[in-house]
């Protein structure tokens, strides 16, 4: 059981958990968080692949992870902004009570 195999398995497990989190729970925020969990899962697999030849680190997966992270951030940001706007529209009736 080499180290990269272990981390790959963990990565895939994370991916599964994220998938479950995305599909089942009804709440929107849980879904967005689940997407990030899946993202980290995939990135872990990538990092594991980069480490497969232990001393020599393969920079390409790393670059892919970096790019992946930025994209994940962008996606999550857009999702959250949408959620806020939906909340704003749906809640405008009892808005005066709040701040």
């Amino acid at each position: 059981m080499t180290q990269d195999l272990f981390y790959s398995i963990c990565g895939i497990a994370l991916f599964g958990i994220g998938l479950y989190g995305l599909l089942i729970p009804p709440h929107i925020l849980q879904k967005i968080l689940a997407v990030n969990v899946m993202g980290t899962g995939v990135f872990m697999v990538l990092i594991a692949t980069a480490q497969s030849r232990a001393p020599a680190i393969d920079p390409v997966p790393h670059a892919m992870v970096l790019t992946g992270i930025v994209v994940a951030v962008a996606g999550t940001a857009l999702a959250l902004s949408l959620v806020c706007r939906i909340y704003a529209l749906s809640d405008d009736t009892e808005q005066d009570a709040g701040r």
Partner: protein
């Protein structure tokens, strides 16, 4: 707070179990595939190592990011730009409700005055060190954004005041301009002349940092600021 957003209550128990089983099965299958396939293929580190001297930077990841696969980074900045544009209106439409009169906690104010310069300094260092060690535009951008957030929390600074438009777009424009110019010189798009590679990469990284910081601040501003009441100004409400 958001519970009413998703009217559909949690799916019935039976469905959840079936779905869970399916996902577990999928995961196990993937794991089995990975295990069975044995060790990973050698990958590209040899090629990267061979081409590193011509890339103009020492850090292989930065070389890959900004030279070998610079096209990906260009598109990545475009992604950020997309999200920036997508969340743009909230900021402009919102009248800055935060008035100066709001009491500024004295402790926070003092901390801000001390921390912000330091943060900017480290951001600059991170940007520069990217060529030699892990670092680079994205990490520097994140730090600067943090500084910005701190300032806005401290109240002395309103995000609406930021000249959003040019800052957001500068990263993308500079990167494309450099790529095009370089393409004209060396005959291939994004192919830096070996000598000037390092400098060009630095220029690009700097512009990218600015854009990233502005975008992240914009995103934070959009989420944190109070949401305007009533339908968004400027969005024509089609009666659905």
């Amino acid at each position: 707070m958001f519970r009413e957003l998703n009217s559909n209550a949690a799916p019935p128990a039976g469905l959840r179990i079936v779905c869970a089983l399916a996902i577990v099965g999928l995961t196990l299958a993937l794991i089995a595939a990975v295990v069975v396939s044995g060790p990973a293929a050698p990958g590209l580190q040899a090629a990267v190592a061979a081409a590193l001297p011509h890339s103009g930077v020492e850090n292989p990841v930065t070389a890959v990011l900004l030279n070998f696969r610079s096209y990906d980074t260009l598109l990545e900045i475009a992604v950020l730009f997309v999200v920036a544009v997508a969340t743009l209106p909230l900021r402009r439409a919102v009248a800055p409700q935060r008035t100066e009169a709001v009491a500024v906690e004295p402790v926070l104010a003092a901390l801000v005055k001390l921390l912000v310069p330091l943060v900017v300094l480290t951001g600059g260092y991170l940007l520069w060190v990217g060529a030699y060690a892990p670092g680079g535009a994205f990490q520097a951008g994140a730090l600067l954004a943090g500084a910005g957030v701190l300032l806005s929390l401290a109240g002395g600074f309103s995000l609406a005041a930021l000249p959003a438009r040019p800052l957001l777009v500068v990263g993308l424009v500079v990167f494309t301009a450099v790529a095009a110019a370089v393409g004209a010189i060396t005959g291939a798009f994004l192919q830096y002349p070996v000598a000037a590679a390092g400098v060009l990469i630095l220029v690009i990284e700097a512009a990218a940092t600015v854009s990233i910081a502005a975008t992240l601040l914009l995103l934070y501003g959009n989420l944190a600021e109070p949401v305007p009441s009533g339908p968004l100004a400027g969005t024509k409400e089609p009666a659905s």
